[in-house]
Symmetry: C2
Subunit: 152 residues, 2 copies
DNA sequence: CTTTTTAGTTAAGCGGGCTTAACTTTATAC
DNA sequence: GTATAAAGTTAAGCCCGCTTAACTAAAAAG
């Protein structure tokens, strides 16, 4: 076996385990808040990136403006999102999280990482350092990949 | 900053990048085959675990038998899955992938890992070895966590 | 042998996540 | 100033992924 395919095998094994674990926990949390995964994803994006326009939601999630509008409707109605006029362009809207929305995202994020935190406690300090270094390598590599594909 | 929270930070950064990247690519592939994510997940499970009963689908995905039945209906109608009587219990059914289904899963799996393969090519051999080792550590740790929580 | 349980199916209903079509308001181009 | 494009919204429609209810056939229990 080549080194390259050993790498691929390690990554794939991790992906399989990780994806299943992440998705089910995440889905349950969203459900417990009375939101769907898609609705929750929008809250997450707002949290990470600050103010968002409706167009950006539409582009980011690769859905029509109509779908975006209706999706955001539900979040606004539930008090998680504020939808305000953009002062720089009266046609556009700016979306921001409310305190309620921000609180929810933070709770959801904690829930999301809980099992990983537990995982870290099973590792020795040396193991943690190795993993930390490795994941930083990977994270940087992904960012470089993305920068090449879509220069801001 | 403690070593433990440095670890957590590395893992979280990776998770953020990875989840988004994985999910969108995966979703697009499923869509391009005219299937939904859920339908595809069932095919994946069949591929990994061999023959499955309807009850097992229902349990594994935490849905009612009715939902499982209807979901599998679509896969059978599209020729991806065979649904046959279980010789050991005439009430039960056994599900298996058809050749068509197996082919689809293999193509989907390749698609799923493509971006990760590209990522590996951006790394040096040394970096790859570090990542490989680290992910093996993590994968084993998860499996231990799961063994504790639900002893077969 | 009869009763109860199990495995699965079908129908109907509901909410979610889209789509297209049609529309209003605002900004941009000429 | 007029025509075009952009930003967003609402309505209607469709498919998906469930749920409950009702049912049949087979197995298990007593």
């Amino acid at each position: 076996m080549t080194k390259s395919s050993q790498f691929n095998q390690s990554v794939r094994a991790w992906m399989d385990v990780f994806m299943h674990r992440s998705m089910s926990g995440w889905k349950q949390f969203a459900k417990s808040c009375g939101l769907s995964m898609t609705q929750f994803s929008i809250l997450i994006q707002l949290h990470h990136r600050g103010a968002f326009s409706m167009s950006e939601v539409s582009e980011r999630f690769e859905i029509t403006p109509a779908a975006a509008s209706q999706l955001v409707d539900k979040l606004v109605q539930n008090g998680f999102v504020l939808r305000e006029e953009d002062p720089k362009d009266r046609r556009a809207k700016l979306l921001n999280l409310t305190d309620k929305g921000r609180d929810l995202v933070q709770r959801g994020t904690q829930e999301r990482y809980r099992w990983v935190d537990a995982l870290g406690e099973k590792l020795s300090a040396e193991e943690r350092a190795k993993v930390s270094e490795a994941l930083n390598i990977m994270t940087e590599a992904v960012k470089e990949l993305e920068a090449v594909q879509s220069p801001a």
